[in-house]
């Protein structure tokens, strides 16, 4: 359904040229779910936003983004509007910023409905109430303003809006990061249910646990490139790239494990987007780096069931 081929994004700025995404490729079938995992600056949000061309106008996007065979990068603004919301919908991380504070929630959802199909005010309002029920809110919440809802309710309302036109693909960028853990569980359950109903999901997140709960496959991004990709359970249980392992080891021990040992973070920090780098972008932080890692940048190659971009990957077990 969605095919992204060799996607690169470049920004020309007064300080020089920035390349937050370099040669990212992936596919998404109907009902599929892919987690784009990465820390700040990894490029995950840029990838998510480029699908709907929501990046600033200064962004130069190259590569191919095909939705059911239709190339999106060549489309004009009016054609894009037809696709946004109707076929691909976005769920942002901060629902308070994404909702209009001076309009009732129902009005905003009804507006989205009318933007894509002819409907009377009454019908679109009824549709809004149905959508709110579908995301687990009472239909009466349609009458409320965003500030009258809790964070979790706002995110549900935003998802209701995203669902207004029955999109085939939901793009969610850190949909739970502004929520407390208990509210997060509700949103995870909701997204999972929507997946079961057939929507494909592209999830951009730094939260490995969230990706594990929601996605069949994950792609780990580092400095704008996919460094590891495979079945979520496989990658998280047996990571092949040293960076993926580093991310997993950075987490505190599971609840109840009683481990008191120091955490084992990845050393150093993500390279600055301004840095001109060659070779493997991770090598300065990598405990397995050798001299060949400086000479060239490893490609993503298939190895024992998953794909990894590393000259010295961890053993497949």
């Amino acid at each position: 359904m969605l095919q992204v081929v060799d996607l690169s994004v470049r920004f020309q700025t007064p300080g020089g040229s920035l390349l937050p995404v370099r040669g990212v490729s992936f596919n998404l079938q109907r009902g599929d779910s892919l987690g784009l995992i990465g820390e700040s600056g990894s490029g995950k949000t840029t990838v998510a936003l480029s699908l709907l061309r929501l990046l600033p106008r200064t962004a130069e996007i190259s590569g191919r983004i095909e939705l059911s065979g239709e190339e999106l990068l060549g489309l004009g603004e009016s054609e894009l509007t037809r696709i946004r919301g109707a076929r691909i919908a976005m769920v942002f991380h901060d629902p308070l910023a994404a909702l209009n504070p001076v309009l009732r929630v129902g009005t905003q959802i009804a507006e989205t409905v009318r933007a894509h199909r002819p409907a009377s005010r009454k019908d679109s309002w009824a549709a809004a109430r149905d959508l709110l029920r579908r995301v687990g809110l009472a239909a009466e919440e349609a009458d409320r303003y965003p500030h009258q809802l809790s964070g979790g309710m706002r995110q549900r309302a935003l998802i209701a809006m995203a669902l207004a036109c029955g999109p085939a693909l939901l793009v969610a960028d850190e949909p739970t990061s502004a929520l407390d853990p208990v509210a997060q569980v509700g949103i995870v359950d909701l997204l999972r249910r929507l997946r079961e109903e057939g929507a494909a999901l592209l999830l951009a997140t730094h939260d490995l646990g969230l990706a594990a709960r929601l996605c069949d496959r994950i792609a780990v991004l580092y400095a704008g490139r996919i460094v590891e990709r495979g079945a979520a359970a496989e990658v998280l249980a047996r990571p092949r790239h040293p960076y993926t392992l580093g991310l997993l080891r950075s987490l505190p021990p599971p609840l109840g494990s009683r481990s008191d040992a120091r955490l084992q973070p990845v050393a150093g920090s993500v390279p600055s987007p301004w840095a001109t780098l060659t070779g493997c972008r991770f090598r300065d932080r990598c405990p397995r780096a050798e001299s060949d890692c400086a000479a060239a940048e490893p490609d993503l190659v298939e190895s024992a069931g998953s794909e990894v971009a590393c000259f010295h990957p961890l053993e497949a077990r």
């Binding site: 820390e39 700040s40 809790s150 964070g151 929520l179 407390d180 853990p181 208990v182 509210a183 997060q184 569980v185 995870v188 730094h206 490995l208 709960r213 580093g246 991310l247 950075s250 987490l251 505190p252 021990p253 599971p254 609840l255 109840g256 009683r258 481990s259 008191d260 120091r262 955490l263 084992q264 973070p265 990845v266 920090s269 993500v270 600055s272």
Partner: protein
Amino acid sequence: MSAALLEVEDLCVDRGGVRVLEGISFALQPGETLGVVGESGSGKSTLARAVLRLLEPARGSVRWRGRELLTIPERELRAIRREMQIVFQDPANSLDPRMTVAASVAEPLAIHGLARGALLRARVVACLRQVELGPELLDRYPHELSGGQAQRVALARALATGPALLVADEALSALDVSLQAQMANLLRDLRARLSLACLYISHDLRMVAWFCDRIAVLSGGRIVEISDPATLVRDPRHAATRALIAAAIT
């Protein structure tokens, strides 16, 4: 428990006519770390501010080394504040964008008359070294720092006055996984080295369980449960605790 560093008793806080904290009581021993967890709106951050008397409670008592903070004159409170510091979630908001790193860290030292002149600069460098930052950052402004560096500067500033209590209000939440772990290790080392007591407020139960000696669960403005991490996880008594544990495990 006269040896307690901080004793909070029946603390109640109202905001906008609504009671947001009700009957909060706990004690913190020197060098002890108490984690405070709870859902959004449970009163975690209000508790942090009330303990530091950054807002006026409606009722109750907050004793610092046995002295009642809620009735103490502002001048004396200032001297005590030297010993209690806070680090917030977002260093971009807590650091003054117009001040260099050197000026930011020097400010509390100067305010409390702890160092002047050439000595001041040396103390600032030492404060930065404590949080594993080098002197090359001295003349940078907050916007020239990475998120991890900025949070370390905020920590250096908080530790500059040699506090006995550090309140960390979601201090790691805005950081990436790997930086969070680096910072958590650093905080744990510093806590041991400086015998710091810590009030560690977070929604990340896994991190809290690893980091803290005891955990208090806030729900609806009340402490509904308080115990050591192992007991809390093994045998949660309150529904709010069970919900938090379930959320951290799934």
